[in-house]
Structure formats: structure tokens, C-alpha cells
């Protein structure tokens, strides 16, 4: 009996060791991390769509280092531990030369530690917390919004532009939510706008207690930093307690207000809600943006809505460009190439900051828009140069 037990252990071990043989790569692998499950699984779907268009585009233009580019997607479920182990798996099991993506700051903060330890270039697409680049890690880049960039360049300026006098900040208890909430407080205080903050549970579904506090403050605008379907609950419940439409809600992330189930979940309470986005069909900054929209419509038979599909598209192109310019997959050479990036993507001309000391290091901040839902149409409110309409109040 004992012998059979020992044999079983050996068999399991041998299967494990034997099956992990390495097959010579005929493609060049890039890793992508992002949530495919959990409350923000829709972001994973948007990433998948963007990756499909990007790999088609890159491979149609010669691929990378003469090989086809292949993307391996690792689900992080928005959870830091899954993110860190998923990142490590991409590097040690799949032998990817670079990792891209992520949409949750807490997950990204866990991943940058792995990237730094394994010395593998990592380009963050849509995780906004400042410390991601403020840690000044050599192998970490971000080609997407940062909390300080979004607050100082877009949200605070929009609040001032619209003449709001009282604001309520609702921040989820994540690195993104708490970080952007603090930055908003600072910017609003500097502008002399009365404000209060409440921290809410990331996965919370019942916001009535917070809403009672907010209603008592009687704000003009609510800056909601709640990601995932939690935002839908918040918007619907704010409507139920008649907080909106007197007060305007700004979805400080954007995508949850663009997901297909948004209108099913919030009903008419979604009307006049505002959101932050980097994509609108009437504000296309480059020819590539127009090409992306056309290819997206052709491939998926619908118009692109969640801007994160376009963000990951850009990041894949940035990675492919850096690999081709480096002429090698050596990590140090890739970092050098990334630092010298000058590439036009859908959101403008990419150039990473190289000055150490703050979150600007290895950071490229794309321009952001404030959009309002008006009778299920997206109207650009801010910046004024790109506005397609003005704020509607009831």
C-alpha cells in the first residue's frame, strides 16, 4: 500500500515535469494582464477586442522582428494576488518578452513589483494610481491616464468650468479610488470649491447610507470614483432617492457607464450622467483613431464604446514599435527603445517622460474628455475645444 502511495506521488511529479517541455517559439509572445472575471470582466472583453485589432494590424505590417506577434492574456480578476502570480506565470511559463495592460491600480501595483524583480518591461494601459510610475522603476511604463493627470488636466478644470460650487467625492477603497479622491480634494480646495468625501466599499451594492449623507450636503456635482458594476448600483440608487438629476454625477473612470448593461441596470437614471473618456466618434485626433473605429465596426459589427479597447490597441502598437526599433528582445534594450518612443497612435503622439522624481517618469498621458449622456447620446462637454454640446441640467 505504502509503495503504491509513493508511486502515485512520483507519477504526479513526472507528469508535471514532463509536460512542461519548451517548444521552440515561432511567434514572438507578448503578455497581457487584465480582468476577465470579477466585477470588471467587461474590461477584459474590451481588452480582447483591442488586442485582436492590434495583433492583426501589427502582423499585417510585418510583425515583430520578422515573426508574427502573439498575445497571451492572463486573467487577474482585478485581484492583486492573482495579478502578481499571473504576471509571473506569463514571464516564467509563457516566456513573453514584455507585459502590457492592466486596469486595476491595486493589481498593477502588485505587478510592477514582479516586473521590477524579473526585469521585464511592463507597459500599464489603464491603471491610474500615481505610485505606479512614481516609484520610478526602470522597467515600468504607463501609456495611459494617471490620477494626477486626469484630476489636474480634466476633472478639476471641468468642475471649475461648469461653475459648480459644492462637490461630493465618493471614493472606493482601492489605490485608484483613494488616490484620485485625495487629489480631487486638494484640487477643489485650491479652487475654493466646497467639498466632502466618503469612502465606499469597492464591491458594495448598497449605497443608501452614503447617499443620505450626500443628499444632506446638497452638492451640485458628485465625483464618483467607483469602478465596476458598483457604479451602476450607485447611479440607480442616487436616482431612486432623487439626488439626481438635481446633482450631476460624474463617473470618474468612464467605462462602467459605457458597458452594454449600463442602461439595463440604471434605466432612465443614467440620463444626464457624465463620464470621463478618451474616445468619442466626433473627436478623433489621428488617422489611426478613424482606422481603429472602422476596423472595429468591420470586425465586431458595432461601434466601439468602451475606450479601453482602444487603449490596449495603442499599447500593443507601442510595444511592437519598441521591439522592432530595439531589434532584440533584451529587456534593457527594450527599455531604451521605449524611452525613445515617438509614435502616433489613436490618442496622439506618444513620448514617455524621462525625468525621475515623480509620477511623470515613464509616463505618457493621453488627452481625456468629459462626456454627458443626453437621451442616450454622448455629448462632449470638456475640453471646450472638442465640445459637441453643453451641460444639461434638469
Amino acid at each position: 500500500m505504502k509503495k503504491s502511495m509513493v508511486c502515485m506521488v512520483f507519477v504526479v511529479l513526472l507528469i508535471f515535469i514532463g509536460s512542461a517541455g519548451f517548444v521552440a517559439a515561432e511567434t514572438l509572445k507578448i503578455g497581457v494582464v487584465g480582468p476577465r472575471t470579477g466585477t470588471a470582466a467587461a474590461t477584459g472583453k474590451s481588452f480582447t477586442e483591442g488586442i485582436k485589432l492590434a495583433t492583426d494590424y501589427v502582423n499585417a505590417h510585418g510583425g515583430v522582428l520578422g515573426k508574427k506577434m502573439e498575445v497571451v492574456f492572463e486573467d487577474t480578476a482585478g485581484s492583486p494576488d492573482k495579478a502578481a502570480s499571473g504576471f509571473e506565470r506569463l514571464v516564467t511559463r509563457d516566456n513573453v518578452v514584455m507585459v502590457l495592460g492592466e486596469s486595476h491600480s491595486s493589481a498593477a501595483l502588485a505587478e510592477i513589483e514582479v516586473a521590477n524583480r524579473l526585469k521585464i518591461p511592463f507597459i500599464v494601459a489603464e491603471a491610474w494610481a500615481d505610485p505606479i510610475t512614481a516609484k520610478n522603476y526602470k522597467f515600468v511604463f504607463r501609456a495611459g491616464p494617471s490620477n494626477s493627470g486626469v484630476v489636474n488636466e480634466t476633472i478639476a478644470k471641468w468642475v471649475i468650468h461648469e461653475g459648480f460650487k459644492k462637490a461630493y467625492i465618493v471614493a472606493e477603497n482601492t489605490d485608484w479610488g483613494l488616490g484620485i479622491g485625495k487629489l480631487c480634494e486638494k484640487a477643489l480646495n485650491a479652487a475654493g470649491i466646497a467639498n466632502k468625501t466618503v469612502v465606499t466599499e469597492r464591491k458594495g451594492q448598497d449605497h443608501y447610507t452614503e447617499l443620505a449623507k450626500i443628499k444632506a450636503f446638497n452638492p451640485d456635482v458628485i465625483l464618483a470614483f467607483v469602478y465596476g458594476t458598483g457604479l451602476h448600483y450607485f447611479v440607480a440608487q442616487a436616482g431612486e432617492v432623487h439626488l439626481t438629476p438635481k446633482a450631476i454625477i460624474l463617473d470618474g473612470a468612464g467605462p462602467p457607464s459605457l458597458w452594454p448593461d449600463f442602461w439595463n441596470n440604471v434605466g432612465d437614471y443614467g440620463n444626464l450622467e457624465c463620464l470621463v473618456s478618451s474616445m468619442h466618434k466626433d473627436v478623433e485626433l489621428t488617422k489611426l483613431a478613424t482606422l481603429f473605429r472602422k476596423n472595429y465596426e468591420k470586425e465586431f459589427g458595432k461601434a466601439p464604446t468602451d475606450y479601453k479597447s482602444r487603449s490596449i490597441f495603442d499599447v500593443v502598437l507601442i510595444a511592437a514599435d519598441a521591439i522592432n526599433r530595439a531589434g532584440t528582445t533584451d529587456a534593457n534594450a527594450l527599455v531604451d527603445a521605449l524611452e525613445k518612443t515617438s509614435l502616433t497612435v489613436t490618442r496622439g503622439q506618444v513620448a514617455f517622460g524621462t525625468t525621475k522624481g515623480g509620477p511623470e517618469y515613464h509616463q505618457w498621458m493621453p488627452p481625456m474628455l468629459v462626456i454627458q449622456w443626453q437621451d442616450k447620446n454622448q455629448i462632449v462637454l470638456y475640453p471646450p475645444a472638442g465640445a459637441t454640446g453643453s451641460l444639461k441640467h434638469k
Binding site: I17, A20, R93, L109
Partner: protein, 307 residues
């Protein structure tokens, strides 16, 4: 016979000792995770398999060990080498308390109470995010100055061996006999002079301490402690490993831990569905092979011997 067992154990330990030489970094990581689950399943088996106390708070005790050491390292700058023993001690004290609380309980009542304890602990971690960082995860220092997968493999291997030796010693001593007596019939055991209260609380305390040890070492290996360690998902995974391997046997949880962790690496691509697969396997085993893989092998062996 005893010598054969010792020789076999030495051969297995020796093989594990040279295992990192034949494994790449990823495979070493999988082995480290396997060893963590070996500790978790074996210590849960000590409680559930040998005294019949089905606790759903076992992952929570791993969390207590991990968070105690992690918070002490981050907030007080204490070395993890000191923090882990303190985490083990704290897990043991809480385990002792829960053991006392559940003294008069059995079956479903005990399970529900421990489920409540687990959930309370989870809520505290999530809500006290200023201390624990909640779902954001607490980044903690490692056990080694220079990160080394091989180094962590040996640390986890030694910890697992120590845990297994403690469990082996307990179940093969008078304590183990008392455990089984309490599991089979508490009243009969008491009438024969077994101190049922002491035995039940002892099992809870030792099992919790070992879970705390596993959680502490694992957290400092990952360099990140999140509410995933004390989650119910983790608890049910440990439960599945023990049942599939063979509850109430020494080697069952070891086999279950290796089998399911390696299997989970293969079916990870199916996302959350891999937990469903484990559930289905556990259900099938509970229905058709209640004694797990060990029971199946034993039955097969007995059949061969008689024929």
C-alpha cells in the same frame, strides 16, 4: 516495517531536496504553492479527519498568521523571521478561543459558527484597510535578502516537513488515539477517561497554529498578503484537496494538494470555472469514493492481495 517507512520517507525528502535542479522557475513556483496546500490540507485534516470537527475557519487562521506577520513587518519593521512565529502564536490563541467557543457544538452548528468566524475576519480585513490595505493587498518584505525561487522552495519544504512531522507524531501517539476516540463517540471516549474538552481544544489550537504558519510563510513568499488567503474560496479548495486525497489518512491531503494544484495550473485558462471543476471532482469522490484517492488505492491493493 518501521525502518522501511523511514527509508521511504528519507528517499522522498531526498528527491524533493534535489527537485529544484530539474525544474524551471515556473515549475518551482508551482511546487512552492503545492507545499503550501500540503500544509493547509494536512492541518485541516488533523482537525476534520481525526477529530471530526469540520471547521470552515481554517483559511482564516492562515490569514491571521499572514496578516499578523505582515502588519508587524510593515508597521513595526519587525523581521518576518520573528513575525511568523508571532503569527503562529496569535493563530493558536485565536484557535484556542474558537475551540472553546465551539466546545458544545458539533456537526452543522460547529461548521456554521466557524463559517461566521471566517466571515467576521474577512470583513475586518476589508474594512480596516488603513491597517490591512483591504482588497488592495499588503506588500510585505520577503524572508530572503535576495529573492530566490530555489531559496523559497527549500524554506517551504522545511516548513512543510516540520508541519507533517508534528501531525505524524500527534496521530501516531496517544493523542492521536484520543482524537479518533473523540471522533467515533465522544460519550464512550469520556467514559473511558478521555478528556474530550482538552482533546477537542488541542486539535483546534494545533491545527490553527499550523495554518497560521503556512499562511505566514506563504504571504512572505508572495511578498503580498490579500484577503484571498483567508477567503472561503481558499477554504473550499483546501477542503476539496483533503476529500479528494483522502480525509482521515496521513498521506491523503498530501496527494490531494499536489493533484489539485497541478491540475489547477492546467485548467487555469477556464477562469473561475476551475473551482467548479474541483467541486465536481470532490462531489464525485464523496459519492463514489468517500475515502478519496487513498481509499481507492487501498481497496485496489486489498483486492489484488486477496486474488
Amino acid at each position: 516495517m518501521k525502518n522501511t517507512k523511514v527509508i521511504l520517507a528519507c528517499i522522498i525528502v531526498g528527491l524533493f531536496g534535489i527537485l529544484p535542479l530539474g525544474l524551471n522557475v515556473y515549475q518551482q513556483h508551482v511546487m512552492i504553492v503545492c507545499l503550501f496546500y500540503v500544509m493547509m490540507s494536512a492541518s485541516w485534516n488533523l482537525l476534520a479527519g481525526y477529530t471530526g470537527q469540520v471547521s470552515f475557519a481554517h483559511a482564516a487562521f492562515a490569514g491571521i498568521g499572514a496578516y499578523t506577520s505582515g502588519i508587524l513587518a510593515v508597521k513595526a519593521g519587525l523581521s518576518p523571521w520573528l513575525g511568523i512565529p508571532l503569527g503562529v502564536l496569535f493563530a493558536a490563541v485565536i484557535g484556542f478561543g474558537v475551540g472553546l467557543l465551539c466546545l458544545k457544538m458539533g456537526g452543522i452548528y460547529l461548521s456554521l459558527t466557524t463559517l461566521g468566524v471566517s466571515e467576521i475576519f474577512h470583513i475586518i480585513i476589508n474594512n480596516e484597510y488603513e491597517i490591512t490595505r483591504g482588497t488592495m493587498g499588503l506588500q510585505v518584505p520577503g524572508l530572503l535578502v535576495e529573492y530566490s525561487k530555489t531559496g523559497y522552495f527549500y524554506i517551504m519544504l522545511v516548513t512543510a516537513i516540520v508541519s507533517l512531522l508534528v501531525i505524524y507524531w500527534m496521530i501516531h501517539s496517544n493523542i492521536g488515539l484520543n482524537f479518533r476516540a473523540v471522533q467515533n463517540d465522544e460519550k464512550a471516549a469520556a467514559s473511558l477517561g478521555v478528556d474530550v474538552i482538552r482533546i477537542r481544544v488541542l486539535a483546534f489550537t494545533v491545527s490553527s497554529a499550523l495554518a497560521g504558519l503556512a499562511g505566514g510563510v506563504y504571504g512572505h513568499y508572495l511578498l503580498l498578503i490579500t484577503p484571498e488567503i483567508p477567503s472561503l474560496d481558499q477554504q473550499f479548495l483546501v477542503l476539496s484537496m483533503t476529500i479528494i486525497g483522502g480525509m482521515g489518512s496521513f498521506i491523503g491531503p498530501i496527494i490531494g494538494a499536489f493533484t489539485l494544484e497541478i491540475l489547477s495550473e492546467y485548467i487555469r485558462g477556464y477562469g473561475e470555472y476551475h473551482v467548479l471543476v474541483f467541486g465536481l471532482i470532490a462531489l464525485s469522490m464523496a459519492r463514489f469514493a468517500p475515502n478519496g484517492v487513498v481509499g481507492l488505492v487501498q481497496a485496489g491493493w486489498a483486492k489484488r492481495s486477496t486474488s
